[in-house]
Symmetry: C2
Subunit: 217 residues, 2 copies
DNA sequence: CGAGGGATTGATACGTCTCAAAGCATGTGG
DNA sequence: CCACATGCTTTGAGACGTATCAATCCCTCG
């Protein structure tokens, strides 16, 4: 399978159990505690990772200590699949995590496993798409819009009315290219406009989808 | 070949002629005039593209008219290879261009052509890496640093002391997430600090590599 | 009940944007 | 060859948004 192959439609993807099986067969399982490092920035990229339980954050630190969060990964997501020789971003356990790992060499040996190939390609597709969205957001959106987009994307993942924020304000800020104070102020604003409601700082509910969507644009 | 395959080292890549041959064999050649559209935002992605001559820009327009430039592509670069079903960014000829096109279906039929597979994978690798850099830049760098990074990356491409800017200030601004005025001011600043010199608005020379590198960090 | 860490709020500083004008090339027609 | 129109770039003044620094609040946990 090459990159030029037409994509499988994500909506028709097979149940995660098959993919889980592939990882089980070829790889191993690890546990990480909150804030534990899974791989470091500039480490050689020789594994693929899949979140079984918990949330993972990728991040990059500049020489002078500024931090940019790359993305957050949830149960079922593949990560660490940059095709380059080493990781540009570190990966850390945002919460306690269980992770499936598989050596790339093992994947290569099984190249042709349609299930696994498809999953990797689909994850790569998503990764690029999310990177592109991230670029647009950071390049052209205001603080208010960024925070709205962020809440929106979290809310879209779940069916429930109430959404849990697995990350703190600092992680949000570093993902959104803002400071913790600005994030906090925007949340307060959005709540003031009754677009969203925070019963606690780690839990929210969308009240006006239209308004939120319009902002997230 | 799968994405999990270890990367070829870019420094050992074969001469471009072989790749050029592959495109010649499988695809066709097109010319585009300045500012002509090569593909539109949200078009189906069914081709791969390779710049033969000229410079290509990818860009995305939000509903309310804000523009984000994704990247610039020069002679030899592959583009339009997002693995998704359609293009998130449009591609336009920044200058008059000659482009090699090849249908993805043709590539697929020839899957296993090591040369082409390798080139696609390598281009994908670069694409992701550049996207990640872009995210860090937009998320965490000041205007001065962004402009410095941009000049740096252009200067690194060439051997010569003088570098031509194929794009205008607006394109730079939209790539860097700034306004045209801010870009202009930062250029004036960098010139004032004797880090860089502009004999004309479309041509520059680096005077203090260290200083530029430090800023680009 | 008090301590500690994250979150919020406030006041102010700073950086970038906005709007407007002027400068500078390039090309065209007189 | 000049005069002017055009489009891009630079410069300026002021407004606005986000960062910074500091204080307070609020939860959770001991």
């Amino acid at each position: 399978m090459t990159l030029a192959y037409p994509m499988s439609d994500p909506r028709t993807a097979r149940p995660a159990t098959a993919l889980s099986d592939a990882f089980e067969r070829l790889g191993s399982r690890m546990s990480y505690g909150r804030d534990e490092e899974i791989y470091a920035q500039d480490d050689e990229a020789e594994m693929l990772y899949r979140v079984v339980r918990g949330v993972v954050r990728t991040s990059r630190l500049t020489v002078d200590g500024r931090r940019q969060v790359g993305d957050f990964y949830y149960a079922g997501d593949l990560f660490g699949l940059e095709p380059g020789p080493d990781h540009r971003f570190a990966a850390e356990a945002l919460t306690d995590c269980e992770i499936h790992l598989v050596r790339r060499s093992a994947v290569r040996a099984f190249a042709g496993d349609a299930e696994l190939d498809r999953a990797i390609l689909e994850a790569t597709r998503q990764e690029m798409e999310r990177l592109q969205e991230h670029v647009v957001m950071l390049g052209r959106k205001s603080a208010r819009e960024r925070v709205a987009s962020f809440l929106m994307s979290l809310a879209q993942r779940r069916e429930e009315t109430h959404v849990d924020l697995p990350m703190g304000r600092q992680d949000m800020a570093d993902y959104l290219g803002l400071t913790i104070e600005t994030v906090s102020r925007m949340l307060t604003q959005l709540q003031g406009d009754d677009i969203v409601e925070f019963p606690s700082s780690r839990r929210f509910q969308v009240r006006k989808w239209n308004a939120l969507e319009a902002l997230a644009a």
